[in-house]
Symmetry: C2
Subunit: 468 residues, 2 copies
């Protein structure tokens, strides 16, 4: 009898389903019980039978639904573009520097040092220790782990001048967040921000997303011309200048002490901020970076130091040193955007950089960077004779190569890619029109032994373009 | 002779220093050599002598400077406020929920479960494993570790409906970043966003920082009235609604299946997004949360799930499931704001939630939450008779207490604080004027044995206010 009832319900519902749209919900068990004057057990048995035939599916706690036939109705999210409106920033430049390359190519594009250049042993030991420590289960303050704040302050204080205190430091989950916050908190949408041209693509991306109006100031292997900086401040009314005074990415420029003084003077005269991105602090080769912030006791320099590239990509930790209201604005933004940085990452960063072996690691790294840089420089000189290397950088991770006028960069990148060599078009580093064709070649990728082969491929692809 | 020269230089420079402003830079060694016709060694000896007297200080690579007397010139960063302009959001509400309380108080204010409620053993083991794994030295893709994306997708897919794929997931360094990105990418500055009132203070903070225009929709222990939601959409032209349909913070509301359908219907009719903050997914007590996203196959629900509170505050990992252009906008924002999330945190999160012990942990947690909730409910009933508990929540971490009209909340918080009980004023959860005095009491703080004492203090402080 119950079997009969159940079969009757199945047949009836089968008909109902045939005319129902996919995704329609079956009446509840209770209402089916009422409709068919059957017991809940009978109804549920019928529904299970329909499920077994693939006609309906049950979602626990939600209900039972006519099964959607995946091919019947393709997704149409067109309504979303109307709801979203035109994007505020279209810049969505998925940078080449973030691209993950397969193992069998020669990778000269990356923004990150290869694994063999990392203090891997120190990092692993630090994570092991952190796994046993308090940081694994605690929430640190928004501004950062006090001991790590103190370390960032001491690092900058070692250069003398107005020694920052631990309280002047705000810890970020990586320098990208720090740039985003600095541009938002110190500049804001639709207001002007001076930047070197060319400059770091990640900073340009952060600026675009915040909606600041980027004002390019030409910069080369010697850094920017202070008079140009002054003109740009005067003509735009900007109150901030983003720069990389040491081993700039991509040019490798290191500002002379005199240039640093002159730019800082201009910044002071215009009552402005210098957002100093000290990204390559740990990557000196034949020179040691001296932060501009060490020359400032008026709160004009907002100093950004990252540990992600020198410690490990897994240790996303950066510190910003700022004073006065600027620091308050930055902290308020951090609370709204990220609330706090994982205490484990902060503990690991501090652990690594306070080990005696950290100094040894940095000494070794310097030798390795020098050897890799020189190898790539020699390879470029030999195999890419039409390119010119405006300067051999004294630090950093990259060579900045000027190519012959008229080079078709997109074609060059494509041709090299096809020949198994990944390179990054210099165009990605220009805030406006690129002023000339460039390549940025990273000398810290995997397998430096392949640099000559890589350079040969680039040279050949360039030569192909020169041919009529 | 060199000693004499040195003494002469010291005396001369001493005079110069006396009239120089602190921070002034001494002429370079080279120019002093020229001026005094002395050898560099002699000049350097003189400078060292001045340093020993505390008159100057050398900064390696920068120069030598007249020592600043810290008390002589207080810092004046006044110029900064002119450069910064008025803050775009003044909201800087340092929330009570983030406050770190000393050990000797009764803490009923926190937004985070106490350490003893965390799967501490699992977390530590996972960090140990991650310390040995690849994640410690690799950079994961911007959208997240593919295995973790797949897990987030599967968690939502388990409820049936349009099953998300791993590619629909974007991993964030915590839910605060996810909220910030969702509001920026889906709404944007000066555009309206519906929110429940009251609702999570962190979401209000993120909204204020993005500059979206918050539109409060009244909500209580039963959730919002769909007609109010519809009216708010219609009158403001909003295209997004931020809500916590399961165990809302602070009210504890859990939307009925019928309400969920009706609200989703309204959202669909207005071509809008529902940003579903499933913050308490792991904190069911007498009910299990069913995400609204499981009812949606049109890309209307953007689903946010965080692991920070249930795994560990050190594992700042959240996942957002979104489809179509919305997902693209979100991903573009993530690249600009944070680039990627530490692979170690992602590996640890995945490790913890895929252990067999994770299920056991959640079962235990449910019992503990139930016991703690009931203990605090009983304490409130007994010792705070003038307060009313509109509903005992079926999940989450908080009780939402309605206090008598006319209660001076600020005074109540202060009085309790003085008596060693930290509570959070309900006002922090209101996007506009609070409609009545409330307290949010968290039942997952340390030492539940002290709940009756805590309630007694609150009751007494309330009684004091009632006295004429």
């Amino acid at each position: 009898m119950s079997d009969d009832s159940s079969a009757r319900i199945v047949a009836d519902l089968h008909e109902w389903i045939a005319s129902a749209p996919p995704g329609a919900r079956l009446p509840s068990t209770r209402s089916l019980v009422a409709r068919y004057a059957a017991s809940p057990v009978t109804v549920q048995k019928a529904v299970r039978a329909l499920g077994a035939r693939g006609l309906v599916e049950s979602r626990p706690g939600v209900g039972t639904f006519v099964r959607a036939v995946p091919t019947a109705r393709p997704n149409d999210y067109g309504w979303q573009t109307s709801a979203l409106g035109a994007p505020r920033f279209r810049d969505a430049r998925r940078s080449t520097a973030l691209r993950t390359a397969p193992n069998d190519v020669i990778a000269l594009h990356s923004g990150y040092p290869d694994r063999e250049l990392l203090p891997e042993r120190l990092v692993r030991a630090a994570f092991s220790r952190a796994a046993r420590g308090d940081a694994a289960v605690r929430r640190p303050p928004t501004a950062g782990l006090p001991e790590l704040q103190a370390w960032f302050a001491a690092e900058l204080g070692a250069f003398g001048a107005a020694r920052p205190s631990a309280g002047d430091v705000v810890v970020f989950p990586g320098s990208q967040s720090a740039l985003s916050t600095a541009f938002r908190a110190l500049v804001g949408p639709d207001r002007p921000l001076l930047v070197e041209s060319p400059t770091y693509w990640g900073a340009l991306l952060a600026a675009a997303q915040v909606g600041v109006r980027v004002v390019p100031v030409p910069s080369g292997p010697q850094g920017p011309d202070p008079d140009e900086v002054a003109r740009a401040f005067a003509s735009t009314g900007a109150r901030a200048f983003y720069a990389q005074p040491n081993f700039a990415n991509p040019t490798g420029a290191r500002w002379s002490p005199d240039l640093a003084d002159r730019v800082l003077d201009v910044v002071r005269r215009h009552g402005a901020f210098l957002v100093e991105d000290d990204w390559a602090h740990d990557f000196g080769i034949t020179a040691d970076p001296v932060p501009i912030a060490a020359r400032d006791d008026g709160g004009h320099v907002v100093h950004l130091r990252s540990l992600t590239k020198s410690v490990s990509p897994a240790v996303r930790v950066a510190g910003v040193v700022a004073r006065g209201p600027a620091r308050e604005r930055i902290l308020a933004d951090v609370e709204a955007v990220s609330m706090y940085v994982s205490g484990v990452l902060q503990a690991v960063a501090l652990d690594v950089v306070t080990q005696p072996a950290w100094r040894r690691y940095r000494r070794d790294l310097r030798h390795q960077l020098a050897a890799r840089r020189d190898l790539l420089v020699a390879a470029v000189h030999e195999h890419v004779p039409t390119a010119s290397l405006t300067a051999v950088p004294q630090g950093g991770l990259n060579l900045w190569l000027r190519l012959p006028d008229g080079t078709d960069l997109a074609r060059l990148v494509r041709d090299c890619d096809a020949a198994g060599v990944v390179i990054a078009s210099g165009d990605e580093w220009f805030p406006a029109e690129p002023t000339a064709p460039h390549l940025r070649l990273n000398f810290t990728g995997p397998d430096p032994g392949a640099f000559p082969d890589g350079a040969r491929v680039i040279g050949r692809a360039l030569a192909d373009q020169a041919r009529p």
